[in-house]
């Protein structure tokens, strides 16, 4: 297989972009990546990661619309859908297209415009990820799964709601320094947890998960230009190497898992990426983990081997996952505070990995001397997961 690198990255702000068309949002991120790579064309293949444009925007065939918008015809174009992991999967497909020798240069862009509909409708559309007979008609939402997962974890390991807010505070502080983040305001433990009024500003959404344990509903897009490493010198920036990609599936319905707390697909996707990269968890310098619900940052960190099972929270309380800690996690602010436009998230994680490995992150957000960055993009409720490892050349 040919070696593959990332030579350009682009990102829109995450937030409320409902005054724009979805295609515009995808185009802005794409053009930003092309600018970063120093190219104006020459793209063989366009891959769009998107979860549900047909439902949010009543528009399908967005890959064709995007190519036309960007004047990239006759480039090949396909869309990749894998729920909230659509971006990570799209990146993997882009990698495969080059590694196989089919093409040389690929534009991968992930995006979503969720605020085109009301909050009720957005909750309903995201819930359509669930089984149409045994889950969806009950009124279950994705946060409901996080509530049940967190409850079981708390029961087993003695975790508290307050401890999870420590992660929220960390991620809000990181997002406050990230110009692309949806919420750029730091929060304090006192405000969201420790005062009697905290229940008013931070109510329960899916018990024991409260509002500040959950991500906002966001619009946005992120993109990358991938190329074969043997032609990387044609581009403006030095490539960041794709060291490993992996993905894995688990039961469609989470209740069917032998151990409700075992994120098997996360573990296997990461193991496959580690194997391909020829490294292990101890080699990872920093990670971007998929945390639409704070409990997932904790449990994914354990599932990918960064911490022992049941021990991640203590390490996080000690500050080990802060930007200046031993193993920074979600220096971007994570989905929790940066935002989670579902189809965009995986590519936004890639954007952050590249930015950190290049040493281009904003002041106060730059990880020290990173060598390998890991991204975990979580589809469904852990039923289809993509993991990516990028390396500094």
């Amino acid at each position: 297989m040919r070696k593959v690198g990332v030579v350009g990255i682009g990102h829109t702000v995450f937030g409320n972009l409902r005054d724009y068309e979805l295609i515009d949002i995808l185009a802005y991120a794409s053009l930003d990546a092309m600018r970063d790579a120093g190219i104006d064309g020459g793209i063989d293949q366009v891959i769009v990661g998107n979860m549900a444009s047909g439902m949010f925007n009543h528009q399908i065939g967005i890959e064709t619309a995007l190519v036309s918008n960007l004047n990239l015809e006759p480039a090949m174009a396909e869309a990749v859908g894998n729920g909230p992991a659509s971006g990570g999967s799209a990146f993997k497909v882009g990698y495969m297209a080059i590694a196989s020798g089919l093409v040389d240069v690929v534009l991968v862009v992930g995006g979503e415009q969720m605020r085109a509909v009301t909050g009720w409708e957005a909750t309903d559309i995201v819930a359509s990820l669930e089984h149409p007979k045994v889950e969806y008609p009950y009124g279950l939402t994705l946060p409901a799964f996080s509530g049940m997962f967190a409850r079981a974890y708390m029961e087993k390991y003695g975790l508290t709601e307050r401890q999870l807010f420590i992660l929220a505070v960390k991620n809000h502080n990181n997002a406050a320094k990230n110009p692309f983040a949806h919420i750029q305001l730091p929060v304090t433990l006192e405000a969201i947890s420790d005062t009697p009024d905290s229940i008013i500003i931070n109510p329960y959404i899916a018990e024991p998960m409260r509002m500040y344990h959950l991500c906002p509903v966001s619009d946005g897009a992120a993109a990358a230009i991938l190329c074969a490493m043997d032609i990387a010198d044609r581009f403006k920036k030095k490539p960041v190497r794709v060291a490993g990609v992996g993905s894995a599936t688990d039961t469609y319905c989470p209740h069917n898992r032998a151990d409700l707390l075992d994120l098997k697909a996360v573990r296997l996707a990461a193991e496959r990426a580690y194997k391909m990269a020829g490294i292990g968890p101890k080699d990872i310098s920093f990670a971007e983990l998929h945390d639409p619900f704070a409990i997932l940052e904790l449990c994914e960190a354990e599932a990918v081997g960064l911490f022992e099972k049941g021990k991640a929270m203590k390490a996080m309380e000690r500050g080990e996952t802060q930007v200046d800690g031993r193993l920074p996690i979600n220096a971007s602010g994570g989905l929790k505070a940066k935002g989670h436009p579902v189809g965009a998230t995986g590519m936004s994680q890639i954007h952050e990995l590249v930015k950190q490995l290049r040493g281009e992150a904003e002041e106060g957000r730059q990880v020290k001397n990173p060598k390998y960055g890991l991204a975990v993009n979580f589809g469904g409720f852990g039923s289809n997961v993509a993991a990516t490892i990028l390396a500094k050349e």
């Binding site: 009720w120 009124g139 946060p143 509530g147 049940m148 409850r151 209740h255 069917n256």
Partner: protein, 138 residues
């Protein structure tokens, strides 16, 4: 009357599907058994080329009765079609090993508590009714 009921009224029961080869129960139904790989016999009107001869048919086993609570939540942000202030959910395990998710109707839930699963109306929206599992204290 019974025939009319069969034709026009929704089947309110919730079923697990039992593999005819190894006996493993599945909920929801699957195309191949998770234990032995035996195939689900496809419906003749959608897959007419499948040869019926030699196939063993899967059995539907109604779910209900005694079960144990594995985890639970109360949600306050509901999707379209639900006008309640909140909904309670639980994951349970039945004595036959089947796990299921459903509505929880218990005042003070505790992980591990014994429950009784019954069928109830989960949703009525745009003229369509849906029935599913409700879990009550024993």
């Amino acid at each position: 009357m019974l025939e009319l009921e069969k034709l026009y009224l929704p089947d309110k029961n919730v079923y697990a599907h039992q593999c005819p080869e190894c006996g493993r129960l599945h909920y929801p139904s699957v195309g191949r058994c998770k234990k032995c790989g035996y195939r689900y016999y496809p419906e003749q009107d959608v897959a007419p080329r499948w040869e019926k001869k030699g196939y063993k048919f899967w059995k539907r086993v109604p779910l209900g009765g005694s079960c144990r609570l594995l985890t639970y939540t109360r949600i306050w942000a509901l999707p379209v079609g639900f006008d309640q202030a909140y909904l309670d959910f639980g994951v349970v395990e039945f004595a036959n090993g089947v796990k299921a998710i459903g509505r929880l109707a218990v005042d003070k839930p505790q992980i591990g508590m014994k429950l009784d699963a019954r069928i109830g109306k989960t949703k009525e929206y745009l003229g369509q009714e849906h029935y599913g599992l409700f879990f009550y204290a024993k």
